[in-house]
Symmetry: C2
Subunit: 492 residues, 2 copies
């Protein structure tokens, strides 16, 4: 498995080398070396394990997924190192993990100074990560029984079968086709809206994967005078935060699926509601920080008091945070204390299950909140059996239990995460923000890691810690944590 | 019921008037008026409802408890208003609610300038609140089926009986006797350690109720040169954070109960662990803020680099926050970013169930964390029935469910709480801190509400909001929230 992943990853690197050759950016040699080395190791592993059995049992699934992500991130760092774009291994690994987990947090100060092919490789890590997540969330996690994802076990398109392998392969093919198609459509639309080809393709890859890497230092704020571009990206962020199974059926013409999906309903209404609240506040908010940095000045044009731009930035930033994409059109951390708290809380949300977004996800939030209020009813009627209903179906107590346990573990890791950052001398707000953002795969955070800053300022250990939190969050905690339990290693 | 509470409250006010007469502080008339008015209204209510049935059904219990606390706080504000000690009704109500909920947050700037009898009344509100909580937590909440407290349903001392009334009365009598005794013992010890009678009695009342009102502007930091006083208060804070049922059996000579109580074990070990961590950091921490205010200077003697005082302040502040007492011996918010995050998280903890402390409480935390990790085991073995064990007994899934729902509601209210504060223009850290502190009935918070500040700076609506959060937290959410559900008002 690892050998196959490395061959696959190496092939993508060689594709970046073609970009390098096209732009003559001088990075081709480094990327080719990285690609060949990756494929060589992959080939050796493939060859060495040739005669081994190919079926994967459920329990091995956790290990394969976790090791797979780590293998990808280790090999994916090579192009940065071999091209000297990011010479430090810690930084290169951070950037790669941030890529594959579709977080989008960066240690780079001057993105635009990098060779184009390296930027393309950076976007590619997002795009590959997004592919991985779609299959993971829709086909693999439900079978592994993780955190309520069982709810979606029967939803995946493709032949219904108990055999893990053919079912996953088929589901993957259909969804990747959709993912690829959506990326192409967004890139074409962005090109027509006025972006260059290179920027359009890179941003499309970053959007559909809810990643957030940009090719510009100012992120999407670079196009603040081209509203159409920002609306297009907003739309595709929303799509990327929708369950891909729903989008699949929509493409097949079955739009009614949207209406019957309770998660989509709440996701849509939440985005609408939060955008309205944010618009009102931004529209009425006249102050701009006196000590604005250069990037802040780009990120803060005359948006205040102007209805269209207030709405646009509100919509863009609400979607960027709730879908955990992390693109920046404006610095939401200076939009009043209320919006600071609101965006902080949104980092825990995430969008839909079965999308490329991170965080806790709406399905879990809805079921938890419903269950919380139903418990009040249960307290009054202790003998009645009162089940949570979701999308007009009763949810078993086992699944609600699973979701609540997931949430408790999420918070425990959040607490430990913030304690570790603060132990390294990072202040209260930045520690809390960095943990929420890393664990939720968002990208920008608060305080010293606000959208106009970058993760380069963190001490080395904090970067490793942040990368670990990204991995934990991306694999929905259980996949990684289970490996550390004695139950996993015990026979039977 | 309300009439009885008012008569009871009025009688305590008249007792404060005796203090006023003894010290000739000029507040006697105001307090006597307040007491007589309270008793008059109480008497009318008693008389008017004379012929009514006296048994209370479970469902009415929620209403009686909630309305009781509000009635007490409304009438308890009268002495402040009538003596002109706190002329503003908002401020007086805040101070009273903070008293009865044993929070200890104050809007007072110069505590020492108030008449002694008013300060005594202030401590009395804590002490009455503590009495209320003991009965509530040990006898009433388990019967109302709230948030896992059913675990303790059979633990309360007294005759085992299904009839609500005689059982509660008997349990209350025994525990109040213990509560009264412990208060007297602490007051005597404090007097012997060098406090004046007045301060000793007031601080004993504030400690046993885990309230936190002090008679000094600098709180317990006033006695920073008298370590014995601070150790005595620390000990009694620990006792006040222990399940009173355990203390009851200890007084009866049954010390083995401590050893078999899992909650006590974790509570004790957590206090020891956190004290050690805090001691190490405080001991090695040399910086003192340059811009220290006068109170900060008192609160920051030469404790850094000195082992005994580092340990003492670490122990004192860990206990003050985890037992939700909120006394101040030093300003923990400037003890490094790590301790800021740690103390923030501790505000959610609270101490034991069946104590006078607030917060989530150890029993719930233990069961939630255990359940979280067991869910990993359940994921690997989906067909096995794996129950959480607590104090060597299996906990039913219903109770675990109840606890998890409690926790989710606690966090929802925390999120809404912080959003409301921030909406009023209060910054990120202060908003989060004020919510955690109000909801957990702690007292001091962070940022603008750090231990050297007070809640007087809040805008009026924020004071009402904070008071509401205190009430919600104090009555373990369910008691108040249930009243707002349609299920409560529907027949059958």
């Amino acid at each position: 498995m690892m050998g196959f992943l490395l061959l696959f990853n190496g092939a993508f690197m060689l594709f970046s080398a073609i970009i390098s050759w096209y732009y003559q950016d001088g990075a081709a040699r480094g990327i080719i070396y990285a690609g060949l080395l990756t494929m060589l190791i992959g080939g050796i592993l493939q060859f060495a394990t040739k005669g081994f059995k190919k079926t994967i049992k459920k329990r091995e699934g956790y290990l394969v997924v976790t090791l797979g992500w780590i293998t990808m991130s280790l090999s994916g760092a090579l192009p940065y190192i071999f091209t000297d774009a990011i010479p430090s291994f810690t930084n290169a690994f951070f950037e790669t993990m941030s890529g594959y987990t579709t977080t989008g947090a960066s240690i780079l100060n001057d993105i635009e100074s990098l060779p184009k092919s390296v930027l393309f490789w950076r976007s590619t890590t997002h795009w590959i990560g997004g592919m991985g997540i779609i299959v993971l969330a829709i086909a693999i996690l439900p079978l592994l029984g993780i955190g309520g994802m069982q709810l979606f076990a029967a939803e995946a398109p493709g032949p219904s079968s108990d055999k893990l392998h053919p079912r996953i392969t088929d589901t993957a093919k259909r969804l990747w086709f959709l993912y690829f198609g959506l990326t192409v459509v967004e890139a074409i639309l962005l090109k027509f809206a006025g972006m260059g080809y290179f920027d359009a393709i890179n941003h499309a890859m970053s959007t559909l994967s809810t990643g957030g890497f940009s090719t510009k230092n100012a992120s999407v704020a670079y196009w603040n005078d081209q509203p159409l571009i920002q609306y297009i990206i907003s739309f595709f962020m929303f799509v990327a935060g929708t369950n891909f199974v729903l989008s699949y059926f929509a493409v097949k013409g079955k739009f009614s699926k949207y209406l019957h999906d309770e998660e989509f309903k709440y996701y849509f209404l939440t985005v609408v509601g939060l955008t309205l609240i944010t618009t009102i506040i931004v529209f009425n908010y006249a102050e701009v920080s006196q000590a604005a940095t250069e990037i802040q000045k780009i990120a803060h044009p005359q948006i205040y008091g102007e209805l269209e731009s207030s709405f646009r930035h509100a919509l863009f930033q609400v979607l960027a945070v709730i879908t955990t994409t992390g693109f920046v059109s404006a610095d939401f951390t200076i939009w009043s204390p209320f919006l600071t708290v609101m965006f902080f809380i949104m980092m825990f949300f995430g969008a839909s299950a079965g999308s490329t977004s991170g965080g806790v996800k709406f399905v879990r939030l809805i079921i938890m909140v419903k269950n919380g209020f139903l418990e009040l009813k249960r307290t009054i009627h202790p003998n009645a059996i009162i089940l949570v209903r979701f999308s007009n179906k009763s949810v078993t107590r086992g699944i609600v239990f699973n979701i609540l346990a997931f949430f408790v573990l999420y918070l425990i890791i959040f607490v430990i995460g913030a304690l570790v950052f603060s132990f390294l001398g990072i202040d209260f707000m930045t520690s809390l923000g960095a943990t929420a953002s890393s664990l939720g795969n968002v990208g920008p955070a608060f305080g010293d890691l606000s959208p106009v800053n970058n993760y380069g300022i963190l001490p080395p250990f904090a970067k490793w810690w942040s990368a670990f939190l990204m991995l934990l969050g991306r694999l929905e905690l259980f996949t990684v944590l289970i490996i550390f339990t004695p139950y996993f290693w015990k026979n039977n």
